[in-house]
Subunit: 252 residues, 2 copies
DNA sequence: CGTTGAGTTGACTCCTATCAAGAAATGTGG
DNA sequence: CCACATTTCTTGATAGGAGTCAACTCAACG
């Protein structure tokens, strides 16, 4: 069942640039003709501008999406009107998997900055997975990873202090950006303090205070949205106490 | 692709009593011969006694499990030794899906009381899903549901007060037990205050205080592990404010 | 019948939310 | 390009919810 022609990372990126899903398929490898078949169903829509929605809560589930560039946040609206941020999705990450169960999206997805998104019609993907065992396995892995990530985040939210949460958040961003070829130590936050707070279960003022606190400690250099991590070790050490190992915070 | 012979609930339960997975497959229906094939790979091991492990963190992932009777908790060990409860799994619910990604379980699963568990070897299941499109779809749905549930729980943990958390927890139990034919208003808690607290991100003392508080309010009648919900409406109204709709808390 | 672990209750402290005001950046229209 | 409006961010003061520590009760079990 294992592929006899395993594609290397470089080859894969060239062959299937359009869809981050290929990265997920990598570990077991897919035959190049299979990659072409996957590539064939991937739609490249025009870039999504800041503030525009990819889908909204309740929309009929039709596709999963892969972020190519930019950042997308997913969120739900609480009964009282406030929004609850579910996640931030960076390049290479997949959105919309939670819509499979009920056939409609249970959250909304909005671009935080101009973002290029690939769309993969799910019925076509399912047809493909049924005929490519490896792809099916990678899809299961992808879904399983989502579950693992959520589990880690739940642990973080239920156990940790504000300081630990923000440290974990920054390190998660660092790791994920680095894995996509960006700098691990300096980046622009595309989300507001409010959105970070909502995601981490903190008030926006607390987030703001922690940024200045980390800066005073010499751990960060913060200028509005621009963050530079000066002392990665210290940041890591902040969550060594109770927090589940960060390996699990590594995102899709 | 849709089945021409849709199995009814009764028929299904008789045909495939051994594995709760069939309940998940219901919505789209499976042909009875397919159900037999699914049934054939399900292993019925001897019951797990209280305190015994189904698997532990780091064990090689081989199977997913379905609780038939009893309760199983999943948890991880924090670096400092304390345990973080991930979930409580009631009859009909599936365990171990988070192990797919890395090929090893990322949490431990332990019986809270004597429990009957079905084991489904995952490689065999994958072979089957590749040849039964409906089953593949149901597996995707099952994984997607896990993600949705986790999302709801994250929202609960990051936004809600202790009161809302415990109310949501009790209602979740109520709904899940009821859907399996048990009473929605009275049941035995198979987990300790400590474990509830860990799951909800609260101190055990807080959980205890809330139980007495709910009792004083006439919402519950509590006797140690035995809980009777006297006023379901009031319990619901406690989480109507910010909490994401409970529909999502309904578990696997 | 003593021992052990779970659960309850109280007192106190601390973390973080909330309220409020000001500063900085961003956007808009003339 | 500049003044004004708006949003975002920062910082301070205050209060409340939940954690922690500690003592006590209760049930289970040998």
């Amino acid at each position: 069942m294992a592929s006899n022609r395993v594609i290397t990372l470089d080859k894969l990126q060239i062959t299937c640039q359009s869809c981050g899903l290929s990265n997920i398929c990598l570990p077991l490898g897919l035959e190049s003709e299979d990659i072409e078949r996957l590539d064939a169903i991937v739609q490249r829509n025009r870039p999504l501008r800041r503030g525009n929605h990819l889908f909204q809560t309740g929309d009929t589930f039709k596709s999963v999406y892969v972020v190519k560039t930019g950042t997308v946040k997913t969120y739900t609206q609480c009964p009282d009107g406030t929004e609850q941020v579910i996640g931030f999705h960076l390049p290479g990450e997949v959105i919309g998997l939670d819509g499979i169960e009920l056939g409609k999206y249970i959250c909304s997805a909005k671009a935080l900055e101009t973002s290029a998104i690939c769309e993969i019609p799910f019925d076509q993907l399912e047809t493909l997975t049924a005929t490519i065992p490896n792809l099916q396995h990678q899809m299961f892995r992808l879904l399983s990873r989502e579950i693992s990530n959520d589990t880690s985040l739940m642990a973080l939210l239920s156990k940790s202090t504000a300081e630990e949460r923000l440290a974990a958040f920054l390190l998660s961003l660092s790791i994920r950006l680095h894995s996509r070829g960006f700098s691990a130590t300096e980046f622009n936050l595309s989300m507001s303090r409010q959105e970070i707070g909502s995601y981490l279960g903190l008030a926006l003022e607390t987030v703001s205070r922690l940024f200045t606190h980390f800066q005073e400690e010499g751990i960060l250099k913060v200028n509005r949205k621009y963050v530079e991590i000066l002392d990665l070790e210290r940041l890591y050490s902040l969550l060594s106490q109770q927090t589940v190992c960060l390996e699990k915070l590594r995102a899709p």
